[in-house]
């Protein structure tokens, strides 16, 4: 790997631009995503910027259980994000459709329609967990550019109130064969 590639990987890890998309969410996760950018959590320290246009974004953040009316929009927006890109499913809804499971108005879960890289479980997840997920997705983005294939999606640990990474989870990401088990 030459110097330019190294610089590119480093830059990708340190400059994740997000596009936030609501796939029929109750707004709980959307509020938490915005909270992760507020003064208390300040995700901009990691270089995170919430972009208005999917064309500018690297990471697609999708909330909600993907309703039948939203599914085509989700696919369109996924195609509009330019390569290399990563997808984060925020909350339990896009991972498993949560309490709306087997509802006739849903087309979810999300990974039936587009490949998901990071699941951030929780109903809603805490801003800390979302920031952890974004950092993990940025890492995946940098590795993807270096032509390493990532087969399994990463499921982030549940971060409870007051978890500062000193508890059993240690702030580390766990990988599971079946993301739905961990997400539930």
């Amino acid at each position: 790997m030459n110097l330019w590639n190294k610089l590119m990987c480093y830059s990708r890890r340190h400059s994740p631009w997000l596009f936030h998309m609501n796939g029929g969410s109750c707004n709980g996760c959307d509020i938490e995503l915005i909270a992760s950018l507020t003064p208390r959590y300040d995700a901009e320290q990691l270089g995170v910027r919430l972009e208005g246009s999917p064309r500018h974004a690297d990471i697609l953040c999708i909330t909600g259980p993907i309703t039948k009316t939203a599914v085509n929009a989700v696919k369109t927006v996924y195609d509009q994000v330019c390569d290399p890109k990563a997808v984060i499913a925020i909350g339990s809804c896009p991972a498993t459709t949560n309490v709306f499971v087997e509802s006739r108005t849903l087309a979810g879960p999300l990974n039936k329609h587009i490949p998901v890289d990071v699941f951030v479980p929780g109903c809603p997840p805490r801003p800390d967990a979302i920031i952890l997920g974004v950092a993990k997705a940025a890492e995946i983005l940098a590795e993807r550019a270096g032509k390493k294939q990532i087969a399994e999606p990463v499921v982030m640990p549940l971060v409870g109130p007051g978890c500062n990474g000193a508890c059993a989870c240690g702030g580390e990401a766990k990988t599971a064969a079946n993301p739905e088990e961990v997400a539930q």
């Binding site: 830059s11 631009w17 003064p39 300040d42 901009e44 330019c82």
Partner: protein, 304 residues
Amino acid sequence: MNLITALARLLIFPGLVFAVPAAWFFLWVERKAVARMQGRIGPPFMQPFFDFVKLMGKSTPPRNGIGGLLMRAWPLIAVSSAAGAVGLLPVLPASGGFQGDLILLLALLELPSMCIIAAGFSSGSIFGEIGSAREAVLSVSYNIVFLLAIVSIAASQHTFSLAALAQQSASPLRWLGILAILVCLPAKLHLNPFSLPNAEQEIYSGPITEYAGPELAMWELSHGLEWVAATGLVATLAAPVLATWWAAALVFVALCFGLVLLLSVVAAATARLQIDTTVRFYWQCTLIFAVLAVASALFMRFRA
């Protein structure tokens, strides 16, 4: 010797070698100042550089035909004209060669905003078109004041030459003109309270909504270079006359930095105005002072 000095000015200071890192630095100062004003820590020092490198490595959507070609061309024209504007600034004492004048500098400063308007319309996105229309209305409003301020400065000192203006000490009328330019800068740089063309949360990213990858990187760079050129123009007009070149360069950089800080703090402290309020602000409140400045400059010239 003249040729070497001219090349050094265009390529090293205040040209490209100085201007590009300065553009990134000013973009960082802007984001950091806004973050500090909001009680956040803000992005790390190298952030605009990382953003630039990352955008250079991203793919762009396929663009076909003349429209696609134009979409690729606009950001490049914007970057080159903004870089040319920075290169024209007479920071160091003049030593012959091509020096340009205020009119050329104004034209080069205006070109990026023309490119933004054209880019929004050629992208075909509805948000781009709204943003371009706003930018056009805004540029008609602030440019009247901006140009009148420049004319008043030039008339009061009997010259359009930048080098001659930099050599003369500032008169009270020039300070009035500088004040009028300062009022126009937030609109020129798309900052709050006049951030209408690229109003986030309202029309996505305005004219640059459809841009991605290296093209977007060029827009970011041209925005940074506009920062350097616009604050540099004010710094050149306001700086005291210094004999030693290193002191002149130091004062120039310090004044630019102070201006960036001031504009960012104003941007963080204000909310976006509506387009009609903005237009009314420039046409009704600010225009009177600009006309007064020009009138008194001309009057003093005829008396002298």
